[in-house]
């Protein structure tokens, strides 16, 4: 486990030094959320009804635009062969990389969500449930996105291909995330929603690093 934490600390140090790389999804998230009231109007009942969907879709898009370059720094540096030659299984190294990506890119989003939730006149309980579903759902987004990023690591100009490739896989997370908040607004029990989202997240925790490792090994042998 010490390997995992030391790898994550190195990755955090690297992303912190490229300040711009983890700020973009956060700013994108805030700006797009602010666009909605400007475009849809500030009728509070309407806003609070569609707020969960907006926040979830924008979080999903924020992850999609930034996860494409998850392995780009390695690819340009040529340090992918470093990861491949290490005695540790590649999926552990990749999992550490995705975990550090989640800490730097998705956690700030979740911390900002309460602020945006209140801006959209969302009641406190729903904001809490929204944050919990984001906390549970965004790791799965990053993990599935990492598979696509690993497949496209060597290809120039792959900007728009990743969303098409990975978007269908995000649909169950989006459905359960938004409907959990809807259920919270109708005071229904939420355990079922969190159970299903947790199951999906842990399935992708088990599946995605291995598939990403396979994709990276294929990519390097290109």
């Amino acid at each position: 486990m010490t390997l995992f934490f030391s790898l994550v600390s190195y990755e955090l140090r690297i992303t912190m030094r490229q300040a711009f790389s983890w700020v973009t999804p956060l700013v994108f998230f805030i700006i797009v959320i602010c666009l909605f009231p400007l475009s849809i109007g500030t009728h509070s009942a309407l806003l609070s009804e569609i707020a969960p969907g907006m926040i979830w879709v924008t979080a999903l898009l924020a992850v999609l635009i930034s996860i494409g370059s998850l392995f780009r720094t390695e690819d340009e540096e040529g340090s992918l062969s470093l990861l491949l030659l290490s005695p540790y299984p590649l999926s552990v190294l990749v999992f550490a990389k995705i975990a550090s990506y989640w800490l730097t890119h998705c956690l700030p989003l979740i911390c900002v969500t309460p602020l945006l939730g209140f801006m959209l006149h969302l009641p406190a309980l729903q904001v809490l449930v929204l944050c919990l579903t984001l906390l549970l759902g965004t790791p799965a987004l990053c993990l599935l996105g990492a598979i696509g990023a690993a497949l496209l690591v060597g290809i120039r100009g792959n900007g728009l291909l990743l969303p098409i490739l990975i978007m269908p896989l995000y649909i169950p997370i989006l459905i359960f995330g938004t409907s959990a908040v809807l259920a919270a607004s109708q005071e229904q029990p939420l355990s079922a929603y969190f159970a299903i989202m947790g199951a999906f997240t842990f399935m992708s925790v088990a599946m995605a690093p291995i598939l990403t490792a396979v994709a990276l090994r294929m990519g390097v042998s290109q």
Binding site: L3, R13, I14, R17, Q18, L82, L85, S221
Partner: protein
């Protein structure tokens, strides 16, 4: 072996004994790097096989790759880490416990002591090459695969490289290099010419 359906080379076979150097020569684009990547186990050859102490490497690529050093054309150095951090990162990645004194000694050996705490981003190509050479010292490996190690190295750098290779040969290790310039080595290197 072919690279996106253009035939690179055929019928290359060579047996290298330990304690020897093989220098692969050939014009640019003839497939030297591809051959080295096949030796490193990154690419599977379309015909034929690579065996290391008479066991085909693709049976268990991971185990084989633990025992080798592969210095690629683009030196695998993390740009945003400093020289010291790069070496400790490499050590962590390869399960080596490295004390700061050992690390400093390696940095001095490679002559980057003045740049110990500067990010690799600000180093010149030659210095980056030396940093990737420093990685060879961190972990003893019987088999080295160096892809044009002399690029961007000045005289002092080439001297360091020659010392490293001589030391490796004394310890009965093997080295395969793809180079254009000759390096002053104690033992005469065998030459494999591609595309003759």
């Amino acid at each position: 072996m072919s690279r996106n359906n253009t035939l690179l080379f055929q019928g290359v076979s060579y047996a290298l004994a330990s304690g020897q150097v093989l220098s692969v020569r050939g014009a640019n684009g003839i497939g030297k790097s591809t051959l080295l990547r096949i030796l490193a186990g990154f690419i599977e050859p379309q015909q034929g096989s690579v065996s290391y102490d008479n066991q085909v490497i693709f049976q268990d690529v991971a185990a084989y790759q633990h025992g080798i050093h592969y210095l690629g054309h683009d030196n695998g150095v993390r740009q945003y880490l400093t020289v010291y951090e790069n070496l400790t990162f490499y050590a962590v990645l390869n399960d080596r416990v490295l004390s700061t004194s050992q690390c400093n000694e390696v940095i001095q050996r490679v002559g980057l002591w003045a740049f110990r705490d500067t990010q690799a981003l600000c180093l010149s190509a030659g210095q980056l090459r030396r940093l990737s050479l420093a990685k060879l010292l961190l972990r003893p490996a019987p088999f080295w695969i160096l892809d044009e190690p002399t690029t961007a190295l000045d005289d002092q750098g080439q001297q360091i490289l020659a010392d490293l290779i001589n030391q490796q040969l004394q310890q009965n290790g093997m080295v395969v290099m793809a180079t254009h310039q000759d390096i002053a080595l104690t033992s005469k290197p065998n030459v494999l010419r591609l595309g003759s």
